[in-house]
Subunit: 368 residues, 2 copies
Amino acid sequence: MAGKITIQDIAQLAGVSKTTVSRVLNERPDVNPETRERILQIMDQQGFFPSLAAAGLAGGRSRLIGALVSVSHWPLIPEIMKGITEVIDQSPYELVLYSVNASNDKKDFSEVIDRILATKLTAGILAIYPGQSASHLAELCREGFPVVMFDDQVNPPEDISWVGADQRTGAYEATRHLLQQGHRRIAHIQGPLKYQVSLDRYNGYCDALTEAGIELDPELVLQGDFMPTGGKECTTQLLTALGKRPTAIFVASDLMAYGALSTITECGLRVPDDIALIGYDDIPFSMHAQPALTTVRQPFYEMGKCSIELLLRMIDPPETKVRSWNHKSALRPQSDIAAPVLPMSPVHIKLSTNLVVRASCGAIQPVQ
Amino acid sequence: MAGKITIQDIAQLAGVSKTTVSRVLNERPDVNPETRERILQIMDQQGFFPSLAAAGLAGGRSRLIGALVSVSHWPLIPEIMKGITEVIDQSPYELVLYSVNASNDKKDFSEVIDRILATKLTAGILAIYPGQSASHLAELCREGFPVVMFDDQVNPPEDISWVGADQRTGAYEATRHLLQQGHRRIAHIQGPLKYQVSLDRYNGYCDALTEAGIELDPELVLQGDFMPTGGKECTTQLLTALGKRPTAIFVASDLMAYGALSTITECGLRVPDDIALIGYDDIPFSMHAQPALTTVRQPFYEMGKCSIELLLRMIDPPETKVRSWNHKSALRPQSDIAAPVLPMSPVHIKLSTNLVVRASCGAIQPVQ
DNA sequence: CTGTTAGCGCGTTCAT
DNA sequence: ATGAACGCGCTAACAG
């Protein structure tokens, strides 16, 4: 409810100097317990919160985390955000949202990144599906700026931390499931090949085929765009291929699977009876599709949580927790180019996906 | 690319004082055009951006906008955000995202609001579906703090600005459409009655019925929770009601409509042949449902855009644009309680919805 | 038109 | 264990 009380005010009410108040604010151990209590009480009795802006300025750090999201991935964002905000809520940090237009994929992202850096607003960056900008981010990373990629770029700069999901295994399991249902002609609709995930999923598909001793039929592999429209187009192509229609399709995204579903239905065919379908992502809606979509679940919520936790750890290394203040001083004393403080070597976390079997793959009778 | 250059640096390179640099930064008219050009050039040649934190601190204002979103509305958020971020991108402001757990509906929201206020981090608040916290927000508003509600609370505090959609008309049109298809027994699955939108939509439904001279059958109106599960439950109830099954259902949210759809299908009935269905919202997925869902489109993107534009205008009144700097000074000179600067009377904007006719209502043959 | 002088609210040295 | 003084990067008064 309160408005704009400052450290100063608290200091007066408590009959101490602002320095002392500042100390309890920063949880310094060297404050008289009684004084601390008194100050603490006055603080929340007055509803006092320190100004993030001023604290950041003075302390040379910031309590803001920048989250970069490209609009083209919006359908996946809610779940991710849920994980992220949950962690942020428990921390002293706030989230600044930077949205990037997918249009000029490369340029836009970098531009925003530069701006973020230059305004020195945020203490770190969480880049959600940065795509082509990965290399730009890696550079930052090398300069010691905390960055975590939410993605699956397995080959790019190894010196950047990321959290992703095990795409290849996920795709493998999906395909194998289809194989186990007796399917032999299994098509695959890929995502754009410029994304590593598309490759990974394709490889998983191949793995399963190989394992089953089935030769890859190039005609059954089409490249889509991760969007419903692409799914429709590829499916149409698949269905009109004379004579040798697939009996199952492993689609590299739920969104494309929706497109496939409608195309199949419009052609008078039925899922899963005529064609079995498995998607990828398990976005919230997929369980409500008709028929419910079997899909590979990416643990978005967990990934979000994990990535932000990692970033927070990079920014505030846990440091042995005990009497650490004495050494904390000197924040880049007078060096011109910031001395890389990078306290952790890059961390790569790959969470596992798992197959969610529903009606669209034919393994389940539409019960319940 | 650059790192941490300051106004100071620019000033030196340009051979002027920081004050002058600051002036061009703030687009003051009183700077020598040549000097301005030179400085401008040096600035972006050095990739300089002023520190938001410092600028905010010094100027007594902030370049951050707080966006409050409750997690229970995530499915609708992406579209809204798209509109919001697009506007933000074109402005000197950044977006701080505050996520609120829906659990303690009331308490959580207010808590966050207080914190936002206290940290003085943001220049204004955009509250997306604040629900029960509306009154708390109104209070802020009265104190002169810029607030805009993204919502449809028609009855609550009139002194708070909001942008919403014309729910009643939307519902009316949907119901009328069903009526025009010849349906007489039209059920309605409502949202929770604690929300104004639920009432509005219900009223629209009644309007259409009344207009058609049909008496309202209370048994055909059920209260859901806006979620798929609620849709399923209500639909089940509707279908098992002996003897007098409705031939059409107007569902107050797409999410609930998905639940209805699956329940109907599971009962061996078909949409739209046995039961016609119309949803509400037109969330991105609805066009890909099977059958494609007829629904009332809420212009989320436009509403997002509109609401943030309104907020920005409240924060920076357009002021006649010409030579306004002279008077801009004195930001609450020495008053203790901030003198309400509130430059605009509350604005209420209601955008219109529109019926998107697809397959689920039976008006269109599954062509294309 | 431009430079000079003060702070904004806080963290962080030094002292004590 | 505590206080005084200085500065973070910038804007805002005041003089020239």
